[in-house]
Symmetry: C2
Subunit: 300 residues, 2 copies
């Protein structure tokens, strides 16, 4: 079955590169595409193919679009040099960016107009799981889209949640997840630094809290960065400006009052304003530390 | 060693009763005390002793105080009918209520004046783990206090974190934990209902999110209550008015800006204002649902 599927992965950033490698490993014919020539060269070195001309897209039955946001997704598909015009009828577009459900529905409709199938398929799990082919995919779309994309989904994900037979619920669930992760990142920073004002060291925090009711996946995965003073980005502060911005926009559109997201977004805005936009999202703790004149591990 | 220790447990509510039973099961001579005669009768039925006169306290080498707050702790120890005056010198007071670190330090000092030892020992884990003798205790106090209380701590807890050799850090760590739990309860309610506005059902939420990065201990333990429409209190909404109030007070005293706690506390205040103070803390979701005109499972 694998050999029958030729897939393209558009966007060879940290997530897309991991997905593309996982597809290769699963035995799928895989073409990578990225504006960054260096990323394309790395994928070629890993044994993959690279899209050379737009005509290459006509060889693909599945195209995975792994770009940063809605604007890039739209440009990749329907911009002046968009790929939709080059795809054969019946090709499945697997759209992985975090976007509003309304945008996902609009893209599905435009794909339908171009005789393409669309899978609303945001991903969760980070770079490590992208590399391992063990992402979680929150997917929604026509049964035919799921069927055709199955070899690709199986290669990139440990878990595929099938949330509906039309676009929207995948992006909705992703927004729900991002709401929680963003709030819990800020909560981790708030709690760790609050503890410092009361004599609880970051090391003690990390020793005790993961064994108590206050723990979360986020805390267990990000508090170690603060304790180590290592802000090499797994996921950057500015990702949360974008993702909590999407959540906030959706919430406002639905007249939904979301005070915790609003508070968390302000803290990420402050972190980005401090010049930390490209640091790991655990750097949210630095906003709290600065406000309270605390020195985090690794500082001065 | 167990037979040499006679312990009293003052406060036979859901946590104190579980602790008292765990002490009995471990073979310790255990006396219960509560203003509620019915609670005392239940502990007697379970094979425990009951404090009949103040003189009974003179038989105890460890007294575990498991009351609701700082005011009750102070009244139990040093009120007009306080027990401190009846305890032998060298008796250890194990204080379990969630209180401010400053209060814990003050109680330790007053105990010292009465020749008593004091252990700042808030507990985490809820009623089930209290019954099983597998609580987590966040403890701080003099080494002599730890030594004397050891048989009691071992009987009530699976984990005893030793956080310092004087009172304060135990209560500080408990406040850190409560900050996280309170915020994550509100985040659970916010995310679950936000999802509903976008077509994600509470059942789908519960199926997907525990397997994604947005999960937390709180979410996995409380979201099922919302899905089941069952608000039988494991921990009540009003507990969070109290505990996030303590966190907020400590933070203000330290000039620490804690916007997520502030937002979460407002949601709990709204829940209590809606008359839900005695419902399970998962009822925080009802505040969000009411604001957005959503019907949660089990409602009309």
């Amino acid at each position: 079955m694998g050999a029958e599927t030729t897939a393209a992965v558009v966007g060879l950033g940290s997530m897309g590169m991991g997905i593309a490698r996982s597809l290769l490993r699963a035995g799928l014919q895989t073409l990578g595409a990225d504006l960054n020539e260096e990323a394309c060269a790395r994928f070629r070195d890993a044994g993959g193919g690279v899209v050379e001309t737009a005509a290459d897209y006509a060889r693909c039955s599945v195209v995975v679009v792994v770009v940063v946001n809605a604007a890039q997704t739209e440009a990749v598909l329907f911009g002046a040099e968009g790929i939709a015009q080059h795809l054969n009828p019946g090709t499945v577009v697997v759209s992985c960016a975090t976007v509003a459900p309304e945008f996902a529905r609009a893209m599905e409709a435009r794909c339908r107009d171009s005789e393409l199938l669309y899978l609303d398929a945001p991903i969760s799990g980070g770079q490590v799981r992208a590399n391992d082919g063990t992402l979680a995919v929150m997917a929604a779309g026509a049964p035919e889209a799921f069927d055709k994309a199955r070899p690709v989904l199986d290669a990139m994900a440990a878990t595929v949640f099938e949330l509906g037979d039309a676009a929207g619920p995948g992006s909705a669930m992703k927004a729900v997840n991002q709401l929680l992760v963003g709030v819990q990142l800020a909560a981790m920073g708030e709690a760790l630094t609050f503890g410092m004002t009361q004599g609880v060291s970051p090391e003690q925090f990390l020793e005790v809290i993961p064994k108590c009711a206050g723990t979360s996946w986020v805390l267990e995965n990000r508090a170690p960065h603060v304790v180590a003073g290592d802000y090499t980005p797994l996921s950057a502060v500015d990702i949360w400006i974008k993702d909590l911005g999407i959540v906030t926009d959706i919430a406002r559109g639905a007249r939904f009052s979301a005070p915790l997201v609003a508070a968390a977004l302000q803290q990420f805005a402050a972190a980005s304003g401090m010049g930390l936009g490209q640091e790991d999202d655990a750097a949210i703790a630095k906003v709290y530390a600065r406000n309270a004149q605390l020195k985090l591990p690794g500082e001065g």
